[in-house]
Amino acid sequence: MGTVPEDLTRVPDLSSTGGLHTEEMVLNVGPQHPATHGVLRVLVSVDGERIVRAEPVIGYMHRGHEKLVEQRDFRQITNLLSRMDWLSGINNEIPASLAVERMLELEVPRRAQYLRVILAELNRITNHLMFTGSFGLELGATTPVMYAFRERELIQEALELVTGGRMHFGFIRPGGLKEDVPRGFVELARRGVRQLVAKIPDYENLLMGNEIFKQRTVGVGRLDPALALDHGVSGPILRACGIPYDIRKVDPYLVYDEFEFDTPLGAQGDSFDRFWVLVQEMKESARIVEQALDGLPEGSHIGAVPKRLTLPKGQIYCHAENPLGELGYYLVSDGGNKPYRLKIRTPSFSNISVAAHMLRGAFVPDMIAILGSMFFVVGDIDR
């Protein structure tokens, strides 16, 4: 019962002007446009202010990760892959190491798994904070992004204390972590998370409670769940349509099954729901970090890993819950220490492929609200 996707080229008849011949104007939004996050270009044909047809054009940030990965060994790969979805460095590295560990049956110490969960959730918070701020920016409110970045700096300080980097960490190694956390990290992380939870009501009042914001987002860009599943949409966008697909719950990896947290679900799947799910997820991540910090076991930061890491022949698919959706690595190895082929299934690629259907019939300013609420990172789309 998958809906047959209407042929994009057929033009729905919107010319309510009867006899008067109106000709559409093709508008070229991007590739360098202040609203889109980076270089996404949308070819829009517009009848007055209403969009008749929209076709996202991607590839402006295609850097060929899948080809470069075949020339690098696994430590170099974790560094390169954290540059794909540049807002969630740690979450990009985890599935790569998980794939290697599952193939070699490496046993990762509990402390390393706990620390991986803490770092992943802190990174998820910084990712969501960025989108909380920039969604307001696109609707014209320049102040929430400033507050969001103030919280983000504090959490980045904690991450930098541990890994040395602010955005690209290269800290997750097959078998565990690069080093152990220094003294003072636990307090700094706890303080950062506590300040975040204290400041979330600011965002709710400043944005979600604001009537103008509600008029701009409620009922705008409604995503039909069947279409979403058809396109492989995942992450907060899918959960905003009411489908509880969260890999940390459905197929728990690391030690996520030891923490109790719930997945917020939206009702209508419109821009407001997506934003609401995003903000609630930050609260959930904060809960996970608090529980993980309390229960941080003692032990070593890395298991017993052979010096020269060579993988047996074989194929494996390993996925994890990236802040933007399901990030999966299909690793094909031919016995060397470099992957023969690594297919990277990124969330934003599938999430944006559904945008063409959602933009049809919307207003031009709505297009910005819809694209802003689709939470994508162009590096993730173009790989």
Binding site: P34, E49, L139, T142, T143, R150, L206, I212, V364, P365
Partner: protein
């Protein structure tokens, strides 16, 4: 015949030249308001704003901006309609600056105390609509065209509530001359007792007139770059959009201060020793701060919501306001 100073002053041409000098004061005023907006916006966003331009707290930031815009290269794309393109800054500046002709700084400190001052002020402020529309058309750029059309639709939609709210004030004060309107509010401004609704309507319409958030769809960065002024650079941009917008903002807040807060009239009889112009500056400054405050807090409305707000909410409300004022006047209550 001894030509004393008095004679020279009484001579109408010299007097007029002196008074027009006041208009020249507007340019430094835009620099001051621009700087205040940068600093207030920064502190509202929990940061510091310009610090290094001009040493102490970056006071010379907008002066540096102005000087820099003079040095910039003035680009006109080949497809632009040159004459109209260059005329636009003058029109928008004209529309914004001429409202000050009738605004009283004190009992006699007004350039021309027209007895239809209010009517003149509102008529002149709608000239800038033509400027924005011309900019949209002349810069031969799709975004500018959309920006221009949006601006025209918005300004026309908000002209009506502006005029109706002002009409209620004229009814209340019984005259169109701004000086007598101000005098009628001796010691008790209209906003407090007679026209609270009118004050809110006028402020909302004024914000839309100046196209500032939440009504700044015509210059929405996210959707259509800088709207009608995308193609403008250097002094045309600085003069036509930047300075004209600030002068219009000052003009509108001065008008609102005069109509609803009593302009140069002291708020309390006891405070009479404070001279008129100081009162006027305090009230206008307050309203300017309010506009800045609103701009950096709210997101912007979509185009059709904007129009719906004007036609379905503001205009009926202002008609009700006029009806109520009329009824109260009849009952000799006020």
């Amino acid at each position: 015949m001894v030509t004393t100073l008095h004679h020279i002053l009484a001579n109408s041409i010299v007097l007029l030249a002196l008074k027009l000098g006041i208009l020249l004061l507007l340019l430094p005023a835009t620099l001051v308001v621009g700087y205040v907006e940068l600093k207030v916006m920064a502190h509202m966003q929990h940061r510091l704003g310009p610090m290094y331009a001009g040493a102490y707290h970056g006071w010379a930031q907008t002066l540096a901006d102005g000087l820099k815009f003079i040095q910039k290269e003035d680009i006109m794309a080949a497809a632009t309609d040159r004459t109209v393109f260059s005329m636009v800054p003058y029109i928008t500046m004209l529309g914004a600056a001429l409202t000050f002709v009738v605004i009283p700084f004190s009992r006699h400190g007004v350039i021309a105390n027209l007895d239809i001052g209010l009517f003149y002020a509102l008529a002149v402020s709608s000239i800038s609509v033509i400027g924005v529309l011309a900019a949209g058309w002349a810069s031969a750029n799709k975004y500018s065209l959309m920006g221009g059309l949006r601006a025209a639709a918005q300004l026309i939609a908000y002209e009506l509530p502006l005029v109706l709210a002002a009409a209620a004030v004229a009814m209340q004060a019984g005259s169109l001359s701004l000086v007598s309107i101000a005098e009628a509010q001796r010691y008790v401004p209209f906003a407090l007792w007679a026209q609270p609704l009118g004050f809110l309507i006028f402020l909302a319409a004024a914000t839309a007139e100046v196209s500032r958030t939440p009504f700044d769809m015509p210059v929405a960065e996210a959707e259509i770059i800088t709207g009608a002024f995308t193609e403008y650079s250097a002094m045309k941009f600085a003069f036509g959009l930047f300075a004209a917008e600030y002068i219009a903002m000052i003009g509108m807040s001065a008008l609102a201060a005069t109509l609803f807060l009593g302009g140069y009239v002291p708020l309390l009889p006891q405070l009479r020793f404070v001279p008129g112009p100081v009162w006027f500056l305090i009230k206008t400054g307050l309203l300017i701060f309010l506009l800045i405050w609103i701009r950096w807090t709210f997101p912007r409305l979509r185009e059709d919501q904007l129009q719906k707000f004007a036609w379905k909410v503001l205009i009926p409300l202002s008609l009700v306001n006029i009806f109520v004022t009329g009824a109260l006047k009849l009952a000799h209550w006020t």
